[in-house]
C-alpha cells in the first residue's frame, strides 16, 4: 500500500478533528492530547499537540491513514510532513469562534500547495450553538479568501457537521472521494 493513502483533517482548536477521526477509524485513534496551555485552554481542557492518527482498513491488507493536524498554529511546521501526498484535505471550522472567516483564510493558505493538487472539503461544526455564518455565507467567504490561491475543486463541499456523528463524517469523506472522481460507484 502506498504511503500517500492518507486523508488529512485540519482546522482550529476544538473544531472536532479528533472526534471526526475517532468516528470512522477502525482502531482507537492514537492521539497525543496534552493539557492545554495559553489561549487554547479557554476553548478546550486538552488539545492535540502533535497529531491524531486513525486507520481505515480496506479488507485487502491495504489501508487509508487518517491524520489530524494540531489545531495550534505554532505546530504548522508539521503540516508539510502530513500533507506529502494524500487523497485530500478535510477542513473543519468551528462556528463559535470569533472569526471563522479568518480561520478559513489561515488554513486554506497554510495548505495552499496541497489543495492545488487534492480536493478540500469543509465541515462546519457547532452550528447548533451558533447558526451563523451558514453554509451559503461560508461559500461567499470562500470565494473571497481563495482569490489568490488555486484549488483543485474551487467549489468544494461545505457541510454542517458534528464530528461525533459518524454519518456526518462519512458524508465528508464520501464528498471528498466523489470530488476526486464522480464516477466512483457507478451503477454496474
Amino acid at each position: 500500500m502506498r504511503e500517500d493513502n492518507k486523508i488529512v483533517f485540519t482546522g482550529p482548536v476544538g473544531a472536532g478533528k479528533t472526534s471526526a477521526i475517532s468516528a470512522i477509524s477502525d482502531v482507537p485513534i492514537i492521539s497525543t492530547d496534552a493539557k492545554a496551555s495559553d489561549m487554547t485552554i479557554n476553548r478546550k481542557g486538552h488539545t492535540t499537540v502533535a497529531m491524531d492518527y486513525g486507520i481505515l482498513n480496506l479488507g485487502d491488507k491495504s489501508k487509508v491513514h487518517l491524520y489530524g493536524t494540531p489545531g495550534q498554529e505554532r505546530f504548522d511546521f508539521m503540516w508539510d510532513i502530513l500533507t506529502t501526498g494524500g487523497l485530500g484535505l478535510i477542513l473543519m471550522l468551528d462556528n463559535t469562534r470569533p472569526n471563522p472567516k479568518k480561520d478559513m483564510h489561515f488554513f486554506l493558505h497554510a495548505f495552499k500547495d496541497y489543495i492545488a493538487d487534492v480536493p478540500v472539503v469543509l465541515g462546519i461544526s457547532k452550528t447548533d450553538i451558533n447558526s451563523h455564518p451558514d453554509t451559503s455565507e461560508y461559500a461567499k467567504m470562500l470565494s473571497e479568501v481563495s482569490q489568490d490561491i488555486t484549488m483543485l475543486n474551487p467549489i468544494p463541499p461545505i457541510f454542517e457537521v458534528d464530528g461525533r456523528r459518524k454519518e456526518d463524517v462519512k458524508n465528508l469523506v464520501m464528498a471528498l472521494l466523489f470530488s476526486i472522481d464522480p464516477g466512483l460507484g457507478m451503477i454496474p
Binding site: R2, L56, N57, G59, A116, V118, P156, M174, A175, G183
Partner: protein, 376 residues
C-alpha cells in the same frame, strides 16, 4: 466493454509518470469523457509503449521519472503537469489544476505540433525548447469547431429514453403558491381540503416549517391529490397532530424533490449546461439518491442533464429530483454555456458504452474506500 478492451481500442495510449491513484483516476475520467479523442490510459503493469506520457512534476518521483522517460524515449511526447510551470522551463508544461478544456488541446498540440497551438492567455505563449512551454488554454464557444457541436448520440442505458421524459412545472400549482408566499413573507398553511387537515405551516420570516405529515406521506399526497391541496392563512394544527419542525431550506429541498417525482423541471433544458453554484448542505437535508455524486459532478464543470445521465449512468429520476431540489435552493447556474466545457462538445464525444462498468474485482483504492465508508 472492460478496461482492457477499451484500452485495446484506444488509438492513443498514454503513460503516467509520478501519478498516484487519485490522479490516475482523474485522467481516466477525462479520457472516458472525451471518447472522440480516443485516449487510453496505460495501467502500471502494461507493457505496451505509450504514444505520449503525462508526468506530475510535483510528486516525489515525478521529476526524476520524467527526466528518465525523456532520456529513454526521446521521440515520445511528454506533457508535464505542475503548479509551478515557471520552475520547469525545459518541459512542455500544463499548469494545475488540470481541466478538460486545457488538457486535450495541450495533448493534441503535443501529438500534432504543426497544428495551431491552443489559445493562450495574454501573458503566456508556447515557445521553443529551452524556453517556457506553458500551455494555458481558455475554451470558449468560439473555439469549439462546429463539427464537434453535434447532437447527443443515442444512449445505451435502457432505463433512459429522452423521448419518454416526463416534465413538471415548478411555477404552477402548489409549488408556485408556496414560493409566492415565501417571497412575500406571508405565513401560510397547506391544507388538504378533502378532510381539512393542515399538512404544513410555513413561517417565511422565521425560515421555519412545521409539518404534520412525514415526507413519505407527502409523496403519496403529491402523487394522488395535489389538486386537493390549498393554501390557507388561518389554518391551525389539530391538538392530536404529531408535528415535525424543519428549516425552510430543508422543506424546499424535500418538497421540490417530492413534487418532481422523477420528472424533469420545465425550467431545466435537457441539453443545456448547468452547474452548481455551490454544494447543497447535504448533511442537513433529506437524503436523495446519488446526491453526493451528482453534486460533485455538477460542481466540477457545467454539464447538461442528458450528459450527466450519460456520464454517471445515474437513473434519470434521481438526477431530476436532485435538480428540482437544488433549483429550489437557487443553487443552479444556467449561464455556464460559455465558461468552459460545452455539453455538445462533450456529448458528441461520449456514448454510454464508453462509461466503464464498476467491476467489483477491479475496484481501485478509491472504490474500495468508498465502499468501506458507505458501509460504516
Amino acid at each position: 466493454m472492460n478496461d482492457k478492451e477499451k484500452l485495446a481500442g484506444a488509438a492513443i495510449l498514454v503513460g503516467g509518470i509520478g501519478l498516484d491513484a487519485r490522479k490516475e483516476a482523474v485522467f481516466r475520467m477525462a479520457f472516458r469523457m472525451n471518447r472522440k479523442a480516443n485516449y487510453g490510459f496505460l495501467e502500471a503493469g502494461d507493457t505496451q509503449a505509450p504514444n505520449l506520457a503525462i508526468a506530475d512534476l510535483d510528486s516525489p518521483d515525478g521529476l526524476a521519472g520524467a527526466e528518465k522517460f525523456r532520456q529513454e524515449h526521446p521521440d515520445i511526447p511528454l506533457l508535464a503537469t505542475t503548479i509551478v510551470p515557471e520552475n520547469f522551463t525545459n518541459f512542455v508544461t500544463l499548469a494545475k489544476p488540470i481541466r478538460m478544456e486545457t488538457l486535450f488541446p495541450a495533448l493534441d498540440h503535443l501529438l500534432h505540433p504543426s497544428q495551431p497551438a491552443p489559445i493562450l492567455s495574454s501573458q503566456q505563449t508556447i515557445e521553443q525548447a529551452g524556453k517556457t512551454n506553458h500551455l494555458e488554454h481558455r475554451a470558449t464557444q468560439e473555439n469549439i469547431p462546429a463539427s464537434k457541436q453535434m447532437p447527443i448520440p443515442p444512449i445505451a442505458n435502457p432505463s433512459w429514453d429522452p423521448d419518454k421524459i416526463e416534465y413538471f412545472d415548478p411555477e404552477q400549482g402548489l409549488l408556485a403558491l408556496v414560493n409566492r408566499a415565501i417571497r412575500d413573507h406571508i405565513p401560510v398553511g397547506i391544507v388538504d381540503r378533502r378532510d381539512g387537515k393542515l399538512l404544513w405551516r410555513i413561517f417565511p420570516e422565521q425560515e421555519k416549517v412545521e409539518a404534520s405529515v412525514s415526507m413519505e406521506e407527502a409523496q403519496s399526497i403529491f402523487r394522488h391529490g395535489e389538486s386537493d391541496l390549498i393554501l390557507r392563512a388561518d389554518a391551525s394544527f389539530a391538538a392530536t397532530d404529531n408535528l415535525y419542525s424543519m428549516t425552510l431550506t430543508e422543506y424546499l429541498w424535500q418538497i421540490h424533490a417530492i413534487a418532481a417525482d422523477g420528472r424533469l423541471s420545465k425550467k431545466i433544458p435537457l441539453n443545456h449546461p448547468i452547474k452548481l453554484r455551490r454544494w447543497p448542505n447535504l448533511t442537513r437535508l433529506h437524503p436523495l439518491p446519488e446526491a453526493l455524486r451528482l453534486a460533485a459532478f455538477l460542481a466540477r464543470s457545467p454539464a447538461s442533464p442528458a450528459l450527466t445521465i450519460r456520464m454517471l449512468r445515474v437513473q434519470s429520476q434521481a438526477l431530476f429530483n436532485f435538480l428540482a431540489a437544488a433549483d429550489a435552493l437557487e443553487l443552479l447556474d444556467y449561464s455556464s454555456a460559455g465558461t468552459g466545457i460545452l455539453p455538445e462538445h462533450i456529448a458528441s464525444a461520449v456514448t454510454a458504452v464508453d462509461v466503464p462498468k464498476a467491476n467489483p474485482t477491479k475496484r481501485g483504492l478509491l472504490g474500495r474506500l468508498l465502499s468501506k465508508i458507505a458501509g460504516l
